[in-house]
């Protein structure tokens, strides 16, 4: 052997034998092992469940967060820094005349255009062509829209056609109305070829199209749309400034995933001299959204999971220490048959680590089970990040390893004689 000592091969405990001894130690007292593991089971289970439920919930929010919202950017005109308009009038709108075209040049823009709600005096009277209905009068939202805005709105046409660029550029007195306004005014889609008109305070607008709904701007209600230039000619500039509810806005339909990039570029593109006049609102980030929703709660649960793990560690440490004291006689016998202190330490450390790992495995299974059952009950798709889920049992391993360190050290330090006397 080349050693000055006994010349005998040193006692050795293989990893396999260590594992077998650890498992035997656990299996011998299944009830105690179960209780010892409980803290780790709860901790790891809570960890996996919290992360799984958070991810599953986030997946659900992402799903509900429609593609439409994800592809809509709005830009509002906050008005010029110094109001340069003569008294009683409003400044020119912040968007250039060719705003639609400029926006179209930005990568990712599907359609874009300017619109604003036309401010009408109190008691404004809406009525249809006298030929159609004598006294029908309604209060209707009147919106000024550029051709690009009409496109971005994606109206579902029932009859006729959307407002065209030509009609806008020549400030035609034409209008698009929705079906409910049409029926209230007594204009049926079938009568469109006869060019019915809507009178707003005596100004006639020929109805060129009837739409049933639109994806943007007027998605919630009903509105009569007239060309932007026509509105400027008839009613002047809208009142600028966020919060007036009358400011000119730009609605931009983007390709999926392009909204962020478009949001960054649009203001400078539209108004290079004063981009800050335009207030850009990108779509909410779905991940950020879910983060805001779940962040606090998940954090709380993770803290609870950590506390459980800590309790689990203390539980394992305590039980292992008790086991060391209780099995002092066994330690003595093992030492008497040749075990070295490191073998004794290794055995108890392996036992606590195996307990922790087993607890981690069971906890992970329970955590995954909770997520699956919860998701199934909600009819949601289970989202489990393998990066967190697969190594989760290792948390138990680490807990077991740390918890077993002190008892194992104590066991190793027990002198064989003291151990045998104690037994």
């Amino acid at each position: 052997m080349g050693r000055p000592g006994a010349g005998l091969p040193l006692p050795r405990l293989t990893v396999r034998d260590t594992a077998a001894e650890a498992i035997a130690g656990i299996v011998q007292r299944p009830g105690r092992a179960g209780l010892t593991m409980l803290g780790t089971v709860l901790g790891v289970g809570a960890f996996v469940a919290v992360l799984g439920l958070t991810a599953t919930g986030a997946g659900q929010i992402s799903r509900q967060f429609s593609v439409l919202e994800d592809t809509t950017v709005t830009v509002a005109d906050n008005g010029p820094a110094n109001d340069v308009a003569p008294p009683g009038t409003n400044p020119r709108i912040g968007f250039p005349a060719d705003a639609d075209v400029i926006a179209d040049h930005i990568k990712g823009v599907v359609a874009a255009g300017v619109w604003w709600p036309v401010a009408l005096p109190e008691g404004t009277n809406f009525s249809a062509s006298l030929a159609l209905s004598g006294e029908a009068s309604q209060t209707v939202n009147l919106l000024a829209v550029s051709p690009g805005a009409v496109k971005a709105m994606v109206p579902a046409m029932v009859a006729g056609s959307p407002l065209s660029t030509y009609e806008n550029d020549t400030a035609q007195h034409v209008a698009m109305i929705d079906t409910s306004t049409a029926s209230a005014l007594g204009i049926s889609p079938a009568r469109l070829p006869s060019h019915p008109a809507v009178f707003v305070n005596g100004i006639a607008y020929t109805v060129v199209g009837i739409y049933s709904s639109a994806q943007r701007v007027v998605s919630g209600g009903s509105a009569m749309l007239i060309p932007e230039d026509t509105a400027l000619a008839d009613y002047g500039n809208p009142q600028p400034g966020i919060g007036t509810q009358e400011e000119a806005q730009m609605v931009i339909a983007t390709k999926t995933g392009a909204a962020e990039a478009v949001s960054r570029e649009i203001a400078a593109a539209e108004l290079p001299t004063d981009p800050h006049r335009l207030v850009v609102t990108p779509p909410p980030n779905p991940l950020k959204l879910q983060g805001e929703v779940n962040g606090d709660l998940a954090g709380l649960f993770l803290i609870l999971a950590l506390i459980s793990l800590l309790i689990g560690a203390v539980g394992i440490a305590n039980t292992t220490l008790v086991a060391v004291l209780e099995r002092t006689g066994e330690i003595g016998v093992r030492r008497a048959v040749g075990a070295r202190p490191r073998h004794i330490a290794g055995q108890f450390l392996a036992e606590s680590t195996a307990l922790g790992t087993l607890g981690g495995l069971i906890g992970t299974c329970i955590g995954v089970g909770i997520v699956v059952i919860f998701a199934a009950a909600q009819n949601w798709t289970v989202v489990l990040n393998p990066v967190y889920t697969l190594p989760a049992p290792l948390i138990g391993t680490v807990v077991g390893l740390l918890a077993g360190a002190y008892p194992a050290l104590r066991a190793a330090r027990t002198s064989p004689l003291a151990a045998l006397r104690h037994a």
């Binding site: 006994a6 005998l8 006692p11 405990l13 030492r335 008497a336 048959v337 073998h343 002198s415 037994a423």
Partner: protein, 230 residues
């Protein structure tokens, strides 16, 4: 006399106080291979101290202990562990069997720390249990065995690594007379097979089985040479 298995030169053990207790005063003793030695003495006389020193479970405070010619008092713990595992088998009065392990597993425990493959170990353990007459109770738990059965398992465990020295601490202390007689018969057999045995007992009938009797009184070791022993 054959080559000594054990050679004690002024071996002494004093437990630190206060006040210090000289449990074993400087003692000289030579035990040859195949010797069968009984150590007798009243309670507290230092018998167990001697056994623990011989079993390398404790270290002397003075003197030296040569096992198979090797001075153990200068060895580090790892080598003392190796010697305990390979050269010494110890049988305790209280058996010290693991209650949750079968007879076979209890014997296997003694082989756990040496370098043999599991199949060899199993074979040796079963063989050792067979040699003590328990070949048919390999899977019995200690709780289902009689005191005599448990002591036989303990002897099988002590012998499985084929030690050169078997130390027995009051091996019949927890046994009834019938089991005790049967156990002593077994030890006699083992000794006649060449095994060196040191047995600690306060029972004169047990000591009578041994060829030599060493007495300890107040930590002083003395040997009475029996006439006609050969």
């Amino acid at each position: 006399m054959t080559a000594p298995v054990i050679e004690l030169r002024g071996l002494a053990r004093t437990y630190p106080g206060p006040p210090p207790v000289p449990a074993l005063r400087p003692a000289d003793l030579v035990i040859g291979a195949g010797d069968y030695v009984a150590v007798t003495g009243p309670s507290g006389s230092g018998k167990s101290t001697l056994l623990h020193l011989l079993g390398l479970l404790d270290s002397p405070t003075a003197g030296s202990y040569l096992l198979d010619g090797l001075d153990t008092s200068k060895l580090p713990d790892r080598d003392r562990s190796a010697l305990r595992g390979r050269r010494i088998g110890i049988v305790f009065q209280a058996f010290h069997l693991l209650a949750y392990r079968t007879a076979l597993e209890n014997v296997l425990l003694a082989e756990l720390y040496n370098h043999t493959p599991r199949s060899t170990r199993l074979q040796a353990a079963a063989g050792a249990l067979g040699a003590v007459g328990l070949g048919h109770r390999l899977d019995a738990l200690p709780t289902t065995l009689s005191g005599g059965g448990c002591q036989r398992v303990a002897i099988a465990r002590a012998l499985v690594n084929q030690p050169s020295l078997l130390l027995c601490d009051e091996p019949t202390g927890n046994l009834d007379s019938r089991n005790a007689a049967s156990l002593m018969e077994l030890l006699d057999q083992l000794n006649s097979g060449g095994l060196t045995i040191v047995i600690i007992t306060h029972d004169a009938a047990v000591a009578a089985h041994a060829g030599r009797t060493v007495t300890i009184s107040d930590g002083i070791l003395s040997e009475r040479i029996r006439a006609g022993h050969g």
